[in-house]
Subunit: 320 residues, 2 copies
């Protein structure tokens, strides 16, 4: 949650003159997204989100992200739709940063995950995977297997500050992941960051996904593994098999899982744990002392990793 | 700009069940107000701001603030209107904090102040003063003359960290303010914190004031002095006499200024400088090291104070 960039009146007016969105009636920074500056923009024609992409987003990836949101919307999957300017372009520049306007998506992200959320999430994720299957652009997952060891090396020397022995445990785990990581699973466009913050619900339905700025091409089942971690553990880090069963079964009711995908779930879940453990470790070690925006606790993902290390097969996730 | 408190689904649902605002369609933290947690709340019936009052606001003052917004709205002055629940109360409790919902006010606060903003501000401020004149509740200004010396003593020992000699200068200035502060000027309800952040404009008109959480009873002309400082200096701290003239003349076209008020402007402007210098000094000395939310620079108000110390009379502010 942050607004990093101040937008002046002159810059805003100049920027909006490139669109046909009517007159601005309100413009407020909102506490959404950790990585970018987000503003709620209301005009005489509607409500929108204006995003300025800050340093963690590579500008060359933005056409993939915005193109994907357009593609998914076209296919009837609910997500913010990039708004094109008068010249047809939706990606432009504001305050020296890449910037885009997207439509406002109604809904609330759950602060406390209920089993029903997991059931709705599973089928929506499968629908997203199917809707994205014919998206033509490709983006590698920079935060998958090949990225973990370099990221680990940047935090290794100080990992013991978070927990004694963490560096040794992580080194051994990455060895095993490099040895056992699957290579031949069904793949396509995945969200790759589908935490409850990024999923909106409205009444008894799921109203859409937001924040596609980690989306990439990778195993579909890896997206499920990310969700298992983000949605199916309780605040005390206890695994909730009921939530997992609902998530996975509602997913495969829309997009059936192959045997290879089922078998790979434990190792994918270990990899998904390592991915968030490593980025949280990095943020933990590099945040300014006493900062008001506290980094998330890496140890949460140590617990999740340990759970998946103890899993024999997919039945531990509630499947037959 | 901050959201300090996380509101859970259960707490939000329980809270909103006390209102007749329809179904929630969106709930987002917004980066508005330094002191409280603010959320944009959209429902099937409209758009609102939900505020949780954090530690700097005294709960016993809230009936004054909310009552004032009600009173001003009733009188046709544009500001957020507190929304009453089904029981008729607009002040209640959420997440252990006092909380209220107010209507959403359209408009944008100027990031860069133009002379026309000052002209519109002056007449609106006078209209606010007139509209509040028969507001029956009273609240002393805790940050006026009597509050300055105690606040100064809390920062005195470390004031030299901000600027060598600052403690001595401030001590002498407070002596003089205590000696020369006026006592018999017209008084009533003032806003007391009317920075550009708290004033909204829409096209070529001023659409309203927000953030009445420093409002109190004090000299009307003191509100003008606060505005002189907040609106009529350039980013390099040079005084802009054109902006001051527009502010003051448009004010007195609606509410004429007495001779005593004109004569008091320089000392009131010195006091208004000291007030913000002291609170900024305190925040500067007490913010956590490396915090992402940087406190505002106290030295800006040293420059403004020095300007007003050199002023002979109200003609320096562009008046005849």
């Amino acid at each position: 949650m942050a607004v990093y960039t101040e937008v002046s009146d002159v810059e805003l007016t100049g920027f909006l003159s490139q669109y046909g969105l009517g007159e601005v009636t309100s413009f407020k920074g909102i506490a959404e997204g950790v990585e970018n500056s987000n503003f709620l923009l209301r005009t005489t024609l509607g409500t929108y989100i204006l995003t300025l992409y800050e340093k963690r987003v590579r500008p060359e990836d933005l056409p993939f992200f915005l193109g994907l949101m357009n593609h998914l919307s076209d296919k009837g999957f609910d997500c913010p739709l990039p708004v094109a300017g008068k010249d047809g372009a939706s990606l432009r520049s504001l305050c020296g940063r890449p910037a885009a306007i997207v439509t406002f998506l109604d809904g609330l992200s759950p602060r406390r995950v209920e089993p029903e959320h997991c059931r709705l999430l599973g089928s929506a994720l499968a629908r997203m995977h199917l809707a994205g299957a014919d998206f033509a652009t490709h983006r590698d997952n920079a935060l998958s297997l090949a990225g973990w060891r370099p990221l680990f090396e940047r935090g290794r020397a100080r990992a013991h500050e978070v927990r004694p022995g963490l560096a040794e445990d992580l080194s051994r785990e990455i060895d095993e992941l490099e040895r056992d990581w699957p290579s031949a699973l069904p793949r396509g466009v995945i969200h790759a960051d589908l935490f409850p913050d990024n999923v909106f619900f409205l009444g008894d339905r799921l109203s859409g996904f937001i924040d596609f700025y980690f989306a990439c091409n990778d195993f579909y089942a890896y997206d499920l593994a990310v969700c298992l971690n983000a949605w199916c553990f309780e605040p005390d880090n206890a695994f909730n098999i009921t939530k997992a069963r609902l998530l996975l079964n509602s997913y495969r009711a829309v997009r059936p899982l192959e045997t290879g995908e089922l078998e790979a779930l434990p190792i994918l879940a270990r990899g998904a744990s390592v991915r968030f453990l490593l980025t949280r470790l990095y943020d933990w070690l590099h945040h300014p002392e006493g900062a008001l925006v506290k980094p998330k606790d890496p140890l949460e993902y140590c617990d999740k990793l340990r759970f998946h290390q103890g899993v024999r097969d997919h039945r531990a996730y509630g499947l037959d």
